[in-house]
Amino acid sequence: MTNRRASDFVVGLTVLIVTAITIGGTLWLKQADLGGRTRHLTVRSRDVGGVSLGNPVVIRGVRAGRVEQIALGDDNWVVLKLGLDRDVEMPKDPVVLLAASSLFGEWQATVTSRDAVPGDRALLAAIKEAHTGSDTLAGAVLPDIAQLTAVAGRISGDVAKVAERVQVAFDDAAARELRESIRNFAQLSAELARTVNVQSRNLDRISTNVQTGLTTINDAATRLNTFSSRVDSATSRGELQTIVTNSQNAARELVQAAQNLKQITDRLDRTESSLSRAVSRADSVLAKANSREGTMGLMINDPSLYQQSDSLVRELRALVADMKKNPKRYINVRVF
């Protein structure tokens, strides 16, 4: 009897302790709401993606609760029940975004303000569609990593196509043309110098002609002044014929001056065109040279050429000095 009573006590104690530990441990691991410190939010969404029971609910990046229930609702909606700490302050006009939280298939529900929703049209439309106006929050699924990877794949494909087209456009012929352009730089420079020289002479001639024209006009004006002063007595002194003759001369000189001016203008136009072409060519060539492409570019931009030349001169100087100092080392004249 004593043995049986002792057994009763031991078994009863064991069962009570283990049951209490099991229930307590389960509630603790399940994060059960024992003190009523949890408030519940209902969310509806067309899809929940990879969200499952127990996934965290996050507000402003901080875990504030967990997903407690997922169920299919009416009209093809999915209804989620979120358990949040009662003390957590909800954002203004809250919506719920369901998104992958890592690359390992974990998802989370983010409670955020409607204003903070990313400006994706499909996402905004889904939020708008899920909005009820009641206590049920609107929810939507953000694209997960698989969808983003697919989009990235398409973008990389497009980039590859563009790169291929660039490669086609910048083929060997284009490279040869570029090298030819750089090679023609000296020729273009000489042409530019000649053009500038010619145009300079033209400008000298133009300025001389303009000066001559102005002198002629000045003479004509003087003569006209003389003519006007003599008009009064022209009829009495018989000098009218002389005045007419002078006027004719002045008119011819004016015509000549006008022609000279027209020629000067034409030459100036041509000069301007030539200068413009020469400057654009020089600009292109200098740009290529400045981009360190080709021999000229390397000559201009690569300091090693100067350094090597400088080094060569120094070595030559040293060699000459050494020859002066020790001529026998280099010149050895033997008669026998």
């Binding site: 283990v18 049951t19 499952s52 029971l53 390992f104 974990e106």
Partner: protein, 272 residues
Amino acid sequence: MSDDTKTHTTMRDYVSAIGRTTRTVIAPIGSGARFVSDVVGAMRDVRTWLPEFSVHARILGVESLPIGIFIALFTGIVLALLASYSVGDLVPPYFVGTLVQKTVTLELAPVLTGLALAGRVGANIAAELGTMRVTEQIDALETLTFDPMSHLVVPRVLASAAMFPIVVAVAMLVGLLSGWAASLSLLDISTPQFLKGVRIFFTSFDVRYGLVKSASFGAAVALIGCRAGLTTQGGAQGVGRGATRAVVISAVMILVLDAFWAVVWLTNRTLK
């Protein structure tokens, strides 16, 4: 004897052979089912088996706790190291907690503890009842109109079915704690990380599944042990054979039941 008679006799022998084979296969199932039926029927005699219950619960359950704790202790450590070794840097470290929790709760604590207790409890019951059988104590009970089922079998079966989940629950707890300690000391996984992994996919179903499964293991082990003991023949050698048979069949039955519960409860079930 005419040829017709000879042919008829040969055919009859073939049919009889098929019948014998079928009976040989089905007879243990039938006798086992009848045994279970007798046990269930004897449960009505509560006044007889209830006083014996706590004694057997103590022997089969409470005294089996050290074995369960010992097994779970090392199982948790090995699981944590195996989880870390298997997944390496491919997944976050807190998945070690998830793997330890899921594996210990759903599978290893019930099955390993069940297999260990199959050896201890099954052999204990088979040897005890077998000895009573070969020493004609059971015959004496029957002569005195005591029902051996309600006196000997029912308290053992109920005690085993009730106490296996207790031992397994302790094993689950110890397995989780040892896995946590191993993660903390051997794997440089912090307590918050381990707890995050344990909690993130934890559902109360995990515990229910493991405990219900272990209760079925306990009932099966006790029933097999009792039947092996009651059918013992031939002295001490027969007792030994009965104990061995009880352990082997119990171990096989535990694995069969494990698969059965997995098919019944886990098929098409997700965390959602």
